[in-house]
């Protein structure tokens, strides 16, 4: 039953972040489009923002419902974990998230349903900024909670563990806002979320640009791609920087996870970066090795630091070593999409129009699938890499989970339901966006 509980939550969060990443990129695209419409007096950008705002309502509605599913599921599936959360500052983060949520929903209602009720165009656009801030703040607070799970603080951990999880003392409720991993993790998650979301939405516009014969439609799609291309290029660069920052943080604060990700069986200096090998009988075999790269990527130095290895830790605390592979696919996949975006950028710098190049747009579509895969694997690597702990070095998943058999049937129904709802949501995004085409001024 424990495996099912793990699977159920992993499946739910995997589906949820698919919706959330597109939602975050979508509202940023809407806000930038409206801003450009006002600044450039461009009716195509105006129509793009208006049509996408309808799509965002779907995105918000389903994403919010899915967020509530996760909030309640956490109580149902991991009650002991949530009891700890509710007794410490981690709960304050969830409460802060709800405030961000209110900002987002009230601003969204004003933005969409009262579009023409504002006296100045910039006033209306400013409301979209509130929606963006609310949406991003929700993502920030929930990522802060995850950072707290990786590097818990704000309570007496040893007293809690020695009391058999009964007594929480020494609580500092606001400490959870800034754990040792918060800054690097929030930075990395935000940019990668925007990166994956902008690539996926861009794939939609790339597909329709290539398919469409209508000049007005093409003008709209190319403008969307111009904005999304810029977001993707900026965020992939920041993802590289923040990813390196994250590895540096793991090195100090979660050395076991670091060792598992990089496949270090023993500690050492000047260790190579390894890709796609496997650990057999305590040694890393096969794959590709780049000598001396590990310290350079994690610490921007060459070979002097002692890097951690799995042998320093009891084997029963190791995460599944599959994380080394998911980490490698994530890294190489991210580099591949980065290479594509580099070509896209060079084409733009050389006065080309990459957002109208059929060849590049054909490549964008599989690149977007890869970007989303990279993003999902990032989460999987982070979560599986923390195993067996749900709260690092405090509480294991097995100690936190509700393993009642009564969860099985409703859990299976939830999985089946998500399998229907997620594709339906993307179908309705498209249908609502295309359905409003005839009325558009573009």
């Amino acid at each position: 039953m424990l495996t099912f509980v793990r699977f159920l939550f992993a499946f739910t969060i995997g589906s949820h972040i698919l919706l959330v990443s597109t939602s975050i990129a979508l509202i940023l695209l809407i806000s930038i489009s409206e801003f450009l419409a006002i600044r450039m007096h461009d009716p195509v950008y105006e129509a793009l923002a208006r049509r996408l705002s309808r799509v965002f309502v779907i995105s918000f509605g389903v994403g919010t419902a899915s967020g509530i599913v996760m909030a309640v599921e956490l109580v149902g599936l991991f009650p002991s974990f949530m009891t700890l959360v509710a007794s410490t500052g981690a709960m304050v983060l969830l409460y802060a998230e709800i405030s961000a949520f209110f900002l987002e929903v009230l601003a969204l209602v004003l933005y969409v349903y009262y579009w023409n009720s504002f006296r100045g165009r910039f006033s209306h656009w400013a409301v979209s900024v509130f929606v963006v801030v609310g949406t991003l703040a929700s993502a920030v607070f929930i990522t802060m909670l995850n950072a707290w799970m990786n590097t818990p603080n704000g309570f007496d951990i040893s007293a809690f563990v020695s009391s058999g999880f009964k007594t929480v003392t020494g609580v500092e409720p606001f400490a959870a806002f800034l754990t040792v991993s918060t800054v690097s993790q929030v930075f990395h998650v935000l940019v990668t979320t925007l990166f994956a979301g902008s690539m996926v939405i861009g794939a939609y516009f790339a597909y329709w640009f290539v398919r469409s014969r209508d000049a007005g439609d093409k003008a709209m799609y190319s403008r969307a791609l111009k904005i999304l291309g810029a977001i993707a290029i900026v965020t992939i660069i920041l993802a590289g920087i923040s990813g390196s920052e994250e590895m540096g943080n793991l090195l100090v604060n979660q050395p076991l996870k670091y060792a598992a990700l990089d496949g270090n069986t023993v500690p050492g200096t000047n260790l190579p970066d390894r890709f796609f090998g496997s650990i057999v009988n305590g040694s890393y075999v096969g794959g590709i090795s780049i000598p001396g790269m590990q310290a350079l990527l994690a610490k921007f130095e060459t070979g002097t630091s002692m890097l951690p290895g799995l042998s320093q830790f009891p084997a029963n605390t190791w995460p599944p070593l599959l994380v080394s592979t998911t980490f490698n696919v994530m890294t190489v996949g991210g580099l591949a999409v980065g290479l594509f975006l580099f070509v896209f950028f060079i084409s733009f710098v050389r006065k080309g129009r990459p957002y109208e190049s059929r060849r590049l747009l054909y490549i964008w579509i599989p690149a977007a699938v890869l970007a989303m895969l990279v993003y999902q694997l990032g989460w999987a690597t982070d979560e599986v890499g923390r195993q067996p702990w749900i709260v690092y070095n405090v509480m294991t998943v097995a100690q936190a989970a509700n393993t009642s058999d009564a969860l099985l049937v409703p859990g299976v129904i939830i999985v089946l339901f998500y399998l229907a709802v997620v594709p339906a949501t993307f179908y309705f995004y498209s249908r609502v966006f295309q359905g409003s085409k005839k009325e558009a001024p573009a």
Partner: protein, 310 residues
Amino acid sequence: MNGIFEVNYAAFSVFAALLVTEIMGAVGLLIAWPSRSKVLDYIVPVWEVTGTFGALWVVTGDFAYPGLLVPVSEIFTPLLIIFLILWVARSASIAFAEFITKRGWLGEKQLFKSYAVATLVLGLVVLVLLSALVGGQGVSLASGSFSIISWATAGSVVFVVGTLLLAVGLAPVLFDLSALRNLVLPLTALGVVLSVLSYWLMSSGLLTPWMSVPVLLTLVIAALYAWPRTSKIVTNKAVFLAVLSVIIFSLQSLVYPKAVGQALPIDAVTTTGAMADAFFSMTVVGGLLLALMLSLYVMVAARGPNGPSL
């Protein structure tokens, strides 16, 4: 007085009031589709806010009663998962319905009706859950289980019927369906009688003098709508929603100081110390933000809705 309970219960009151108005709308969409515009003008901007208050209630509840999370998980998880499925179904179908254009068999009518069905069933699940929290029927705190068969007592069933009757009785007020004006007072009065009876059947200790407040307020709404001259007061959506929230808030004696059939003392399970202080600080900051956004909303909404016309 338990301030943390009051905040959490206030969040519940607004959420429940919004959900009840959605249930009223759902009934309208199912039985009076031709007059849907009266219902949709209200439901379409509001359904997103309902979810947000629902999330506020859940999160403040987690914050307020950390020691209850394990028993709640053991007792109610299957019921909560059914609630979640219906919640996503309800949110997805109305979000899809809002801006869709008809193509093939699938159009706004089918999607709004799916929303209505999901909302009604959701309402039933919530009522089962609430009646269990009030009367404790079907709940075993000792073994951490819930049995729907043990739940189905006279008190629980009358609770569900009485509440639904109140929703049906007051729906014409919210949507100003003057053709049904004569039904409002008798149906609402019957709903009040059945609701009070259900509390008595669950436990005679639930009937305190405070109960006269929600009873009177409910009857006043129905009575004001009976006369065209006074009906304008209660057909104002904001007034209706505010009074409904106050009615639900004034029903707090059903679960405080003791809930689940008088077996669970709330004060004993409420968070204390630094976390209680943090709860209040966050409530003040969040409350100010909410008040600011609501002021902006009221200011803009006063100019009238005008969506993203294309």
